[in-house]
């Protein structure tokens, strides 16, 4: 069969289409973005009528997916790991409501923080909410697990988490597809109280979730994705989770591994498998990407005094991404050193694109703030976070989506005046609006810069929920229209921008200054597409 060259994220997108979803919901976030983009661009998905537009944030995405599941249809919701913090309220409670149509939550974790603020491990969340997890070790498994995961979710009655990490998300391999499953008919839950989490009902449903735990464990035990390959050498055993299984295979092809190997790619961890390992091995090494979730569980489960090593024991680093070399070291194998990097090599940090509007905004901001002491600008998540680096060095915070406005408000409340927030258009509609409402209700003395490039740029130029709505949202929240200023960040307007800053910094209250100029990458993409349509007007473009 012809294989498809898929990134891990693309395999997941295809798996969801072939698994019979009626809709995907998501907010862009590296390394999860391309799952939804793949579905948006898929001709088959368009033919099948799968809805796939971006949501305003992960919480709205999660709730909409839960609504689709309520209506009986299969659905997937995708986000990066920190996005699950935003969706956590809906996520944890959805384990208690359970599902109707099959529902998969795909979370992409980012160990080593290639494009993130932390490297939290989503398996903790799954354990917290007490739902099953599928953790593919390669692209083919990613496809198969998602395609089959909706049926698993329907069988067990809860959402199923598919957890991947950056490396699998952004690595290609040949993937074989299976037949396309048909979507579900519209059908409401048989129990009309299922989704009503009033205390009396919630208590009953929570007991039900607790009782189901043994079913989840049974499903993991009989899963074709979990296995134990026994060896006659009892001195050592290995538990390899998710992608760590590949790094083990890089060191020992599994047919050729001298030790007993437990492959763990479906959770909860089956206790019976652990007791087999306990019986058979005198020492166990746990290989897992992220936090020592399994290592801790294994230590707690073993009754015999068996040495357990992994990220906690120091056999592997406690933080950062795994690789075949780190696993080799943990296995006591010799690791090549490789040549040294010559001393003259310097780092090449990411930077704002030449011609980007954020640059002009920061130049004006720096000049306007020149007469004040440093440390007054709170920022947010997006390309403009690069304003923390030289040559701008303009901002002093980047914590979570929307925190610029609320932190500026708190600092201003404490007496730091002026205090300034710098936030992008999409981040503003993701999580900034409620903070702005707090500032308006409190009459806080802050200046909010909305650096509006009319797209979600850091993740590759997705449609922004804020498009064409920024000023009306600010007005609706209650910002005085006289203090909603709109400027074009271009060099030729530099003086005007500085002047506007000066005026609003002098105003005691909430000011919003919108700097609006299309992202230059998005503009280039738009022009390329326009040219394509001009060159070939008959073809349909998504």
């Amino acid at each position: 069969m012809q294989k498809n060259l898929f990134l891990g994220v693309e395999a997941i997108g295809q798996g969801a289409i072939d698994g019979g979803i009626s809709g995907v919901y998501a907010y862009p976030g590296t390394p999860s973005t391309e799952i939804t983009e793949f579905i948006q661009e898929s001709e088959l998905a368009a033919e099948l009528g799968i809805r796939s537009k971006w949501s305003s944030n992960e919480k709205t995405a999660y709730e909409a997916a839960l609504g689709m599941s309520y209506a009986g249809k299969r659905t997937m919701v995708c986000m990066k790991h920190v996005g699950l913090n935003v969706a956590a309220d809906a996520f944890v409670n959805s384990a208690i409501t359970g599902i109707n149509g099959g529902m998969i939550l795909t979370v992409a974790d980012d160990p080593s923080m290639h494009s993130s603020q932390n490297e939290q491990d989503s398996r903790f969340y799954a354990k917290f909410a007490m739902i099953p997890v599928l953790e593919p070790s390669n692209q083919q498994e990613a496809y198969d697990m998602v395609r089959e995961g909706f049926a698993l979710s329907e069988e067990l009655g809860v959402p199923v988490m598919v957890r991947i990490t950056t490396r699998l998300a952004h690595s290609r391999a040949g993937v074989e597809r299976s037949e396309v499953l048909s979507s579900n008919e519209l059908q409401l839950p048989s129990d009309p109280s299922q989704f009503v989490l009033l205390p009396a009902i919630a208590r009953r449903r929570y007991k039900g979730l607790l009782e189901k735990q043994k079913d989840f464990e049974k499903a993991a035990k009989k899963s074709k994705y979990n296995s134990i390959t026994k060896s006659s050498d009892r001195s050592f055993g290995i538990i390899a989770c998710g992608i760590a299984y590949n790094y083990l295979q890089e060191n020992y092809p599994i047919d050729d591994c001298p030790y007993t190997v437990m492959k763990l790619t479906q959770y909860p961890i089956p206790e019976k498998m652990l007791s087999k390992m306990e019986k058979h091995c005198e020492e166990v090494l746990v290989l897992e990407e992220g936090a020592p979730v399994v290592e801790e569980a294994v230590k707690a489960a073993f009754k015999k005094d068996i040495k357990v090593s992994g990220r906690l024991s120091g056999a592997l680093p406690r933080d950062g991404e795994l690789n075949a070399d780190l696993v080799a070291k943990a296995l006591g194998k010799e690791v090549l050193k490789g040549a040294e990097i010559p001393d003259i090599i310097v780092n090449r940090p990411p930077a704002l694109c030449q011609g980007c509007g954020h640059q002009d905004m920061y130049k004006a901001l720096n000049e306007a703030l020149d007469t004040f002491s440093k440390g007054r600008v709170f920022s947010d998540i997006g390309c403009y976070t690069l304003g923390a680096l030289p040559p701008y060095k303009s901002i002093y915070s980047c914590v979570d989506m929307g925190a610029s406005i609320t932190m500026a408000k708190g600092a201003s409340d404490a007496g730091l005046i002026p205090a300034i927030a710098v936030i992008g258009d999409s981040t503003f509609t993701h999580s900034g609006i409620t903070g702005l409402l707090d500032a308006v209700n409190d009459g806080s003395n802050i200046v909010v810069v909305i650096s509006d490039n009319e797209s979600v740029s850091m993740t590759g130029g997705q449609d922004s929920s804020a498009l064409g709505k920024v000023e009306s949202i600010c007005q609706g929240v209650g910002v005085d229209p006289a203090h909603i200023r709109v400027l074009v960040p271009l060099k030729k307007y530099h003086e005007q921008m500085v002047e506007t800053f000066n005026e609003e910094l002098a105003f005691d209250g909430v000011s919003v200054i919108v700097f609006r100029r299309e992202c230059i990458q998005a503009a280039a993409k738009r022009m390329r597409k326009a040219k394509k349509i001009k060159d070939n007007p008959k073809k349909q473009y998504s």
């Binding site: 290609r172 391999a173 040294e340 090599i345 090449r348 930077a351």
Partner: protein, 193 residues
Amino acid sequence: MKTDIVLAGVGGQGILSIASILGEAALRDNLYLKQAETHGMSQRGGAVVSHVRISDDAVASDLIPVGTADIILSVEPMEALRYLPFLKEDGYIVTNTTPFKNIPNYPNEEEILAELKKQPRCIAIDADAIASEIGNRRASNMVMLGAATPFIQITPEKIEAGIQRVFSKKGEDVVNLNLEAFRAGRNFALANK
């Protein structure tokens, strides 16, 4: 048979198109392949790297272990040196010599070239000059891809078919330009191996 390639460059220089041409060609040749890419923040002018692993046997790790890469293929000279720890002892460096200077402290060009000269097996090409001569500097990645072919166990014909597929939408002129660039790179490497 196994070829492990570290593909290096700067965000926006088009190393991902080299990677996808190689990937498609390998898959059509019924070879196994894994190809890890850099997406996200680093694409904004940062250093980007792609590990391409091609084999007639299943490939396990998406990342190449240190000290085992057969080739470093770089579209920028400093980036070629950044990944030296990955190169095996008798591995080849194939690199463009035109620097991409988007940082204020870019090292002295002569020193970079001197470091490359110190490497026992290095093919340094002014791919931008070759591509300009052919007609478009932007085809310099195809010059580099061509230059790497003597060290990759996929036939140049199959890679050319990949180039045709990738550029076919842009018309025959673009395809021919890229094929010409690819062949010029290959000839340079064969003559200077």
